[in-house]
Amino acid sequence: MSPTVKRKSENEGEIHHHVEQLDYQSPKKLKNDGPSTFELQLQKMEAESEKMVDPVSFWNRPPLPKINPNEDPIIFQQIEIDDYVNIKNNSTAEFGSTKTMEPVIRFYGCTEKGNSVVCNVHGFYHYLYIPAPVNFKESDLPAFKEALSTNNDVKKVEIVLRESIYNFHGNQKSPYIKITATLPKQLSGIKRKLEQGINIPGFGERGFNTYDSTLNYDLRFMIDRNVTGVNWLECPPKKYTIRPKQECVSNCQLEIDIGYEDLISHEPENEWSSIAPLRILSFDIECSGRPGIFPEPKVDSVIQIANVVTIQGESKPFIKNIFTLKSCSPIIGSHVMSFENEKELLQAWSDFFVKVDPDVITGYNILNFDIPYLLDRAATLKVNRFPYLGRIKSTKTEAKDSRFSSRAYGTRESKNINLDGRIDFDVLQMMQRDHKLRSYTLNSVCNHFLGEQKEDVHHSIITDLQNGNAETRRRLAIYCLKDAWLPQRLLDKLMCLINYIEMARVTGVPFNLLLQRGQQIKVISQLYRKAIEEDLIIPFMQQEVAEEQYTGATVIEPKKGFYDCPISTLDFNSLYPSIMMAHNLCYTTLLNKQTIERLGLKKDIDYIVTPSNDMFVKEKHRKGLLPSILKHLIDARKKAKVDLKKETDPFKKSVLNGRQLALKISANSVYGFTGATIGRLPCIPISQSTTAYGREMIEKTKYLVESHYSIANGFPHDATVIYGDTDSVMVRFGVQSLEEAMKLGREAAQFVTQHFIKPINLEFEKVYFPYLLISKKRYAGLFWTKTEKYDKLDAKGIETVRRDNCRLVQNVIDTCLRKMLIDRNVEAAIDYAKQVISDLLQNKIDLSQLVITKALSKTEYDGKQAHKELADRMRKRDPGSAPNLGDRVAYVIIKAAKDAAAYEKSEDPLYVLEHNIPIDTKYYLDNQLSKPLMRIFEPILGDKAQSLLSGDHTRVISVAAPTIGGLMKFAVKRETCLGCKAVLQKGEKAVCAHCKPRLGELYQRQIMQFNINERKYARLWTQCQRCQGSLHQDIICTSKDCPIFYMRKKIQKDMKDNTNLIERFKFEEIIQCSKTN
């Protein structure tokens, strides 16, 4: 290679010394000079808690108080339910021994004192209904049972009076046959037989539609006995028996048996709304890895497991410990247990787990990584007693693949792990369900919700730390403990557990089902609960994909523009629920022509015809089920809101708030349930009537407001409705002051409400001032509810909230909107946008701002997609760090040959950073920034907006040269003048002859730049040190989500370049000095 190239590399080495020395050092050098902030937190906790005697003594649950079954009731909060078949050996003198099988419902729970309970409920059998054939009599039952039964699976048949939920029948109940199965799982066989047809003596061969036949046994029991999710159950004295220790099948402290009719279920109201002191275990594991390969349980060992156990409702964990492989220096406030052998470690952890007996298990991605990994690892090492983590001693814990698909939550692959009697609550899954984020790494989630970052240690470094000494392992242990503690803090902060418990209580769905299933189960549970009160039964419906599409909500054509006057917004609160209630829309009130003729009903007196030409009977004939469910939900929400206002205790407040939110979501999902064509019980007439009413109401509101608030009626201005969507209308009353706009808004809401049936309620909610209306579903405005101060900047459908573009777009649009709407300074917004574009073209924008993320949701895409192609390319480079299915892939667009497709230009941001690959700034300008910018500026600037994208500020660009790629290893850089960019002649180092007089000035400029960069770098470095919690340790974090990380890397590179430039002046000086000499 030519000598010039050599010199360059030497230079690099030197600079490396300058700048890099601060960065990553080999772990052998890692020293611990002082406690980190996280350690200090641990220390503080230690100091606050009482002196520890033996940390292991905390593991056990509080001892069981003495119980007298004849006097003491057993009251506990159930957290999970399952069932099993009890085989009883009945030996009688006459028949010898016979076996009888009996289904048993099993509740797991926790008492107020924190004791764990298993409650076996006996005597409840699963059943379904079929309509009784015409002329079917009691006397036909034995023959019917005979015909239906095989292998003794039918326990009982009886005739009962019930009514189908579908259609209005004139309030007439009809005879149905209730068929009870011997064992719950036999019910589906009975159902199949009935549907296929059986031969009943005297009635011939015929098939039946089954009713109430899709419920599972546990849910059936809960509905029949009015048990909701996670409520309190009471076993009254004298009714239950306590199992002797030797007959216990579980690890729980108390096992009892009770008949199902004796079990009392308490509605989660008042005193029963509390939550038992559940034990929550949050844990995290670390595995050693090999370079470039993601840890595999068959090969890579588990080196640390950190645990944090908290009691629900308490702010501090009472157990913090860590199991480490090989020695580990003590960590203050935490119990460190070291093992030389991995098998011992795993077994010790399993013992710990069983002893602590957690009710809730949480962590980050534990269901798909930590638990399966531990199970697989234990199997590989043949730690045979390990996989018994459930509460039933004999059941082995296994991970099974499952797939969850829902309209609302998308498709996710996950593992199902049976932990009998425990709630598994993976914070990652909850995040993916409930929060739309750009990235779901623990780091970025914590940053988002807790406002703090954590280190992200690459798995290849973990091995180095493990192979170091007790101190480096301590370093890792602190990191691991933090990872175990953060999910717990997220739970507390977001009050997830409380919200989910409230949701389970309100909808009556068991806790574990809430995370595993979608929205439908909640509505089904409520529907059955209401139906059973009125002797209604629900038919089984074949799921069919209906082509039918009904018209959705209406949107009033927006009058686009920038409104520098107050715009009042009127909202229908809970629009769809209130329509269904107002018009009595329900399965039970749906009418068809035949019924109308048969019962001689009259239009508008007995029934109504909806705008979509469906007919429903009026409330005086039958009150619908859905309206009463909705009323229950809405009333409960109102009550919860009232209680919330009165409540002072912050914990109870959070419970109530969780409850009112759960109620709101539930009420809204009822409408969706009737419209879900592939759902359990679709009813298009209900959903299409609901939306049709909604459309009518929006139109009517527009008409009412515009005709009433007019100059003709004595108002100073003609009001105009500038936009309306689904359940809200935006009105310009023409007034200039906020006060007037609010007053008129309130009046108008009342005025319009009078024209609608109760409980439909139009409410004045807010005023937008100023207001930028871009198009349908896209607008932004300053949000006012009181005249003193605006509440927030509200933007809908604008890039600030979307995830499929880079952060730069979001920031620019957000800042521009702020400048426009809050500061009312359009000029400043334009200048800002121009500045950003200029910075972008000069490569001054942080790489983290340019990262685009997209979920890798399927393995095969039609056509090539940027993120999929990149994932494939990354897999070739390093299969370990490549994104997997379901992950969000982060990429940036790089420069490539002309006309290259976008998918060829995607690249891993870290790779780009390492190799200095130039960013395709033009792409970001044309494909990312231009449209959103045009959208917000066009209503204000009109045609002039275009100048934003092509003005003078776009004429300064910077082109970076990468360190890799075709020609780069052959190319030689020639120095250009630092003053005028002319190519330098031989002998010139910094500036050309022409610029020589400016040498001093240019040198100063470089030094200044260097100083700025140096300061910036120092600040970033301390930022990272703070984040990792120690000022004395090196930074090993390589978090891809952290903007600081990119900035740190970038500034590091800039400084390297800077130093190079300054170096060039040295020669000038020498030359000058020699000249003067």
Partner: protein, 256 residues
């Protein structure tokens, strides 16, 4: 202050046409010896080096070194405003932010003036050091263009083998294979006859897409020189009538 008058305006047009596919924005470096440009294409696989010596212009005046940042696409658009026979005068001020273009027709009764806004392009000045090559092939530029065009129907890449006998271009693709061999002195016309100056046999593979882009320079010269050494970038040079050249460098394709 730069002032350069080019009698044959069409020359500048041809030059810009020859590089605009590869380079979007670039600095034109002007000094008293002439105007030069060096730029890499976006994917950093090819490099363009252009030189127009001062004697190409009449008159030529450049008081001090100047670096003019020009958007090639926009420059090409403005050049289209002049007719082929027009004389073109380029003027730029030292600290100005624009480039003035003046077109004069042959009879001198029509002059048109345009102004192109300049850009401030901050880029590294990259070049390929001069080396001696194992094989230097001089051949008809039209012939080279045709070879590239023909082989590009077969494959995305071409392998060039240089031996004493001649130079062989080979392409293998899905639909078939093809090779074209040019022997020394095959053409009768002295100007366009093929000469091979060979130190050592060599065989290299290149992307045809880029070679096709290079042949956009064919109107500039009747002959083209290909200089090759194993595992070193190919140099394709079009000489412009003793007043300058357009050189292209292309990294060899490395077998994956």
């Amino acid at each position: 202050m730069l002032e350069a008058r080019l009698q044959q305006g069409s020359l500048l047009k041809k030059i810009i046409e020859a590089i605009k596919e590869l380079v979007t924005d670039a600095n034109f470096d002007c000094n008293d010896s002439g105007i030069a440009l060096q730029a890499m294409d976006n994917s950093h696989v090819a490099l363009v080096a252009l030189l127009l010596r001062a004697n190409a212009f009449e008159p030529y005046r450049c008081d001090r070194n100047l670096s003019l940042g020009i958007s090639i696409a926009n420059f090409a658009k403005l050049l289209k405003c002049g007719a082929n026979d027009d004389t073109i005068t380029i003027e730029a001020d030292e600290n100005g932010d624009s480039l003035n273009l003046t077109f004069e027709n042959e009879t001198g009764d029509r002059t048109s003036q345009f102004e192109l806004k300049l850009m401030d392009i901050d880029s590294d000045h990259l070049g390929i050091p001069e080396t001696s090559y194992d094989a230097v092939v001089k051949m008809s530029s039209a012939e080279f263009q045709r070879i590239c065009r023909d082989l590009s129907t077969l494959s995305e890449s071409v392998t060039i083998d240089c031996t004493k006998e001649g130079v062989k271009f080979q392409a293998v693709g899905d639909l078939g294979a093809g090779n074209i061999t040019i022997k020394q002195g095959a053409s009768i016309d002295q100007e366009e006859s093929t000469t091979i100056d060979l130190q050592q046999n060599c065989s290299l593979t290149f992307s045809l897409k880029y070679l096709l882009n290079f042949t956009k320079a064919t109107p500039l010269a009747s002959s083209v020189t290909l200089s090759m050494s194993n595992e070193v970038p190919l140099l394709v040079e079009y000489k412009i009538n003793e007043v300058g050249f357009v050189r292209y460098y292309l990294a060899p394709k490395i077998e994956e």
